[in-house]
């Protein structure tokens, strides 16, 4: 249960597949156009329920609650050994005397 005033992410289907632009590749056309927005809940709601939020610009908008207290998880990725190799190589060529 998410409480009134909680910061949540909501989800909407903007366009179902049949209402999408005709100029789309097939693999895109079979999917709906989806939208995610964040805001403060105006009433208590369960995850999966349609609820209203107030966004940071003060807009009132509705959608299915998908996350409470959403946060960013992007990072610097896994170790990529090639990156070190590039650095070593160009330092050697520039400063290390390779012709």
């Amino acid at each position: 249960m998410a409480k009134k005033g909680d910061w949540v992410q909501i989800h909407n289907i903007v366009l179902p597949p049949e209402e999408r632009s005709s100029a789309l590749p097939e693999d895109t056309k079979v999917n709906p156009l989806e939208m995610w927005v964040k805001g403060y809940l105006t009433e208590d709601a369960e995850i999966g329920e349609v609820a209203e939020v107030i966004t940071r610009t003060g807009r009132h908008t509705k959608g299915t609650v998908v996350k409470v207290n959403p946060y960013f998880e992007h990072n610097f990725g896994f170790f990529v050994p090639e990156v070190l190799e590039i650095g070593d190589q160009v330092r050697k060529i520039t400063f290390g005397g390779e012709d």
Binding site: P25, W36, T55, G77, I86, V90
Partner: protein
Amino acid sequence: MDNSYDAIMARKNEIIKNAVGMDFEKFEKPGIGFDYEAMMEATGYTIDEIRRVQSLFSIGNTPLIELKNLTALARKCAPEGKGARIFIKDEASNPSGSFKARRACTSVYQAKKLGYKGVVTATSGNYGAAVACCAAMAGLKCIVVQECYDSHGVGQPEIIEKARKCEALGAEVVQLTVGPELFSTVLQLLEETGYFNASLYTPFGIAGVETLGYEIAEQFRQKIGKDPDVVVCTNAGGGNLTGTARGLRKAGCNAKVIAASVNLSGLHMASDNQFNKKSFTTGHTGFGVPYSVNPDHSDVPRSAARPLRYMDRYVTVTQGSVFYITECLASLEGLEKGPAGNTSLAGAFCLAQDMDQDQCIVVQETEYTGAGKHLNPQLSFARQNGIDIHFGDPKDEIPGKNIILPAHPSLIRVTDLDLDHMRKSRIKRAVGSHKDELTDEDIKFLIEETNTDEKFVRDAVASL
């Protein structure tokens, strides 16, 4: 109100007119053309006024840095006596972390002046952060609409980072799955909120970039005592190149202007499956080529970004080459920057090797870097998506299949796009079904649109 896709699109012109405070109709001419310069002048700002406005936002006057070690590396790869001095304009030191601050500032300033309460912008790129940043300074509300996820809800790390930055600067971020209908969402938001459309493609935005070209000329004259020979611009929607080239001209600088894009040929930009198979979300041919030959398919009736008018040459580089040069910039120059902005650097590294050592080539931007928006997470994400990453010859790179990191820096090469072919495509687009009705005025417009001459245009029209 009917908010179906078709109904919103049918209200497009009225919504845009209300949301830009500019009537684009008045620049239209009787035939196929419009008065581009009159549209640019309609901003009402001279370049000096724009510089003053940008200084109010602490934008501009970014450092011009000579990349001496990278130049030394290029000379090791170049024929004897070749290898121009490479410079970079450190645009990442603008408040929002990219040159886009220049572009956003004039729009936000105009929105504030006209009494709008907020701004809306459609972008997955640095421009969103730039608008959010300037809106924060101006005390305006800001909505950024992004194309961010594929149908499995997997987001491009580079775009997610920009969402984070926009939110950090106080904006509301609306995230969508893949598809060009993003535009109708923007129109709906403009209608709902009554905010200003801080489009990337208005005259305000492009006029804001002119200061970048102007500064390059000024700084060169002060520091080096002469003008640069070549300026390389990363090209996507065309505004970066257009604004920079116009600024160079306003400063009386005749440097050659070369466009550079990451080669993503073969990938469809509206494809759900391919959305996360690419490692660059901007600065690539998927935007660069169509926006050059058809600039008016943006979110304003007439785009102020018209790069074919200004580019002397258009080259592509590979994804692997741009990642490689990004690491070179960190390892050799101590400058850790975002990869997309280094597209023009990869181009310049190669182009410098065909130039004499006393010549100067300028890379006119850098962009900020951070989680998700950095070569390590972008390569890591590519590998997770089944992209084969290995050292080899970049010419064997196939976008969406592999990323080939150059086995040696001498393998970083540019590939020329056929500019005349693109000019002819531009003419074909502009002429449409009016081939037999063209007036001298139309021909003049096409000459300007393509930066060519009457013979070129008349021959191209005849061959349609």
